[in-house]
């Protein structure tokens, strides 16, 4: 609708929207989320208690078990010369031991942040309930939430060395040693931790958690050279772009399926820390979903949805060989580098591997 009345409403809404006072709601959101999590946990505990009355013998038997050790024994830890920047196509972290029942899940290599991340999830659980190792390149600092009177600061203090290397415990009051940092090479650190925090854990549970952290940290190697594998190849990357990060989650769960992402940036833009919504060209491949936004176009006969405006160019192509493909470029100036038809041009440079839903066929040479 572009009638005068609609134009007038647009103009007045734009004008009215300027009255809003910008403010930073981050800390309130964090506190709100914590309250929500506690409320959800309380509800969950109540439900579990109710179920537990019926299944008490089984529950008691399970609770009496010590946290168990899985799989591979701890590998010898080697500590190479520190790197100043990771290669976004290579995974350097290898974790030799994981606490039960976690299993390897997400790997993220983000050259912009100077970090690599490895996550292991609870099978069948939601994403975010697991353990992680984040390694920083030499000289790169761990991100720290800005100090605020309402959020307790993270405090680090010396911990017994891990494999002879300096270690620090990170406290996030009231939780002691929420994560463990190890200096794997000069001025280069990795952090091992649980992605969920447990404010109500007993002293015994806390000790077991910290022992698990130390064992996991001791099994970390930073000299792996495994190339990140993706379910697609970019046949001809626009010359102006280069790979800045890769992120893979495999295997997924019904709640949070697998995905594979490669991100690119133009060479003229300085590589700085990225955050969602910052300038980037992203290619995301994930299992085909039936719960997507309605399509508004077709690409090569596949239903697709394209939103192309001043903010950027996003193309979702649905149900290609059992996967959905997204090409997202922000802002529009970056989309213009993708070719005459923006995100569609980039899409036409993508080639899926045969059977992209099977990890076996993924390629470790996604460019060219």
């Amino acid at each position: 609708m572009t009638g005068p009345m609609e134009d007038a409403i647009r103009a007045v809404l734009r004008d009215l929207s300027q009255e809003a006072v910008p403010l930073n709601l981050t800390q309130q959101a964090i506190r709100g989320a914590a309250r929500r999590r506690i409320a959800l946990t309380a509800a969950g505990v109540a439900a579990v208690t109710a179920i537990g009355l019926a299944a008490a013998p089984l529950a008691l038997a399970a609770a009496s078990r010590e946290p168990t050790v899985t799989t591979t024994p701890a590998s010898p830890t080697t500590h190479p010369s520190p790197v100043r920047q990771f290669d976004p196509g290579v995974r350097s972290i290898a974790v030799g031991w994981l606490p039960s029942p976690f299993r390897a899940g997400t790997t993220e290599v983000d050259v912009s942040a100077g970090s690599q991340r490895f996550e292991a999830d609870r099978p069948g659980g939601r994403q975010g309930d697991g353990v992680y190792v984040t390694a920083m390149a030499a000289g790169a600092k761990f991100p720290t939430p800005r100090p605020s009177p309402s959020v307790p600061p993270t405090v680090t203090h010396a911990a017994p060395p891990v494999n002879g290397h300096r270690a620090l415990c990170v406290d996030f009051a009231p939780i002691h040693c929420v994560s463990l940092r190890v200096e794997y090479a000069t001025d280069a650190w990795f952090e091992a931790g649980y992605t969920s925090t447990y404010p109500n854990e007993s002293p015994g549970e806390a000790s077991a958690r910290i022992a698990n952290l130390r064992k996991m940290a001791a099994s970390v190697r930073m000299d792996d050279t495994k190339r990140v594998r993706l379910p697609f190849r970019v046949r001809q990357l626009p010359k102006a772009l280069h790979l800045t990060s890769t992120s893979v989650r495999w295997p997924g769960t019904p709640r949070s399926p697998w995905w594979a992402t490669a991100s690119f940036l133009d060479r003229d833009t300085p590589v700085t820390r990225t955050f969602p919504g910052s300038p980037s060209v992203d290619v995301v491949v994930a299992p085909a979903s039936t719960q997507h936004q309605p399509s508004n176009t077709t690409v090569d006969g596949h239903p697709a949805r394209r939103v192309h405006n001043t903010l950027g160019d996003t193309l979702d192509v649905f149900g290609v060989d059992g996967v959905d493909i997204t090409v997202r470029a922000r802002p529009a100036s970056l989309a213009a580098l993708l070719g005459p038809d923006g995100a569609v041009s980039m899409y036409h440079q993508l080639k899926l591997v045969p059977h992209p839903g099977s990890l076996a066929g993924w390629t470790d040479h996604p460019l060219g």
Binding site: L23, T26, Q28, A33, G128, T154
Partner: protein
């Protein structure tokens, strides 16, 4: 949430709050409710941040904003406040007309139902198509059309300055 994810969430909020608070302001009608609305949406976003940070978290925040706005209305319908149909004080006429128009529009928007206001914001501030609005709100296109029509009709009667402004725009074309 670990420090890394927390930092990314913080950066997202800092970068996008100026845009999001404007949408919330238009939906809610005043600054305090806008802050509450956005706060609620961000809290829900943070709970799902581990999944969302790899996708499009802003789209999720916006979707929560729209749905919260409509569900607030449903919850509030049992304890609705008395609507003041007249401004307590009559403002002096503004030679430019803009202030009158804005005041009338703000007042008029307050008197629309939240669903009507949400539809207007989605159609004319976010510039979404009727199909897109229907998808976001989870209703039919027919509902979007009828809500839009009712909202505009109501605005015409509540904000005569808008009609005058429209006529002026026509003349200047």
């Amino acid at each position: 949430m670990d420090a890394h994810a927390k930092q990314r969430f913080h950066e997202f909020v800092v970068a996008r709050t100026p845009a999001l608070i404007r949408v919330a302001y238009l939906l809610a009608g005043d600054q305090h409710r806008a802050e509450d609305l956005l706060q609620t949406a961000l809290t829900k976003t943070m709970v799902r941040w581990r999944t969302l940070q790899h996708g499009d978290p802003e789209a999720y925040v916006r979707r929560v904003l729209y749905h919260e706005q409509v569900s607030w209305w449903r919850r509030a319908s049992r304890r609705r406040e008395t609507t003041v149909h007249q401004l307590p004080d009559t403002p002096l006429a503004d030679p430019s007309g803009d202030t009158d128009l804005r005041l009338q529009m703000r007042q008029a928007l307050q008197q629309l139902t939240p669903k009507q206001r949400t539809v207007l914001v989605l159609r004319y501030f976010e510039d979404l198509s009727e199909t897109q609005v229907a998808a976001v709100l989870g209703c039919s296109i027919g509902t979007v059309r009828s809500q839009t029509h009712r909202a505009i009709t109501r605005l015409r009667s509540l904000a005569p300055e808008l009609v005058r402004f429209t006529e002026l725009q026509e003349v200047n074309r």
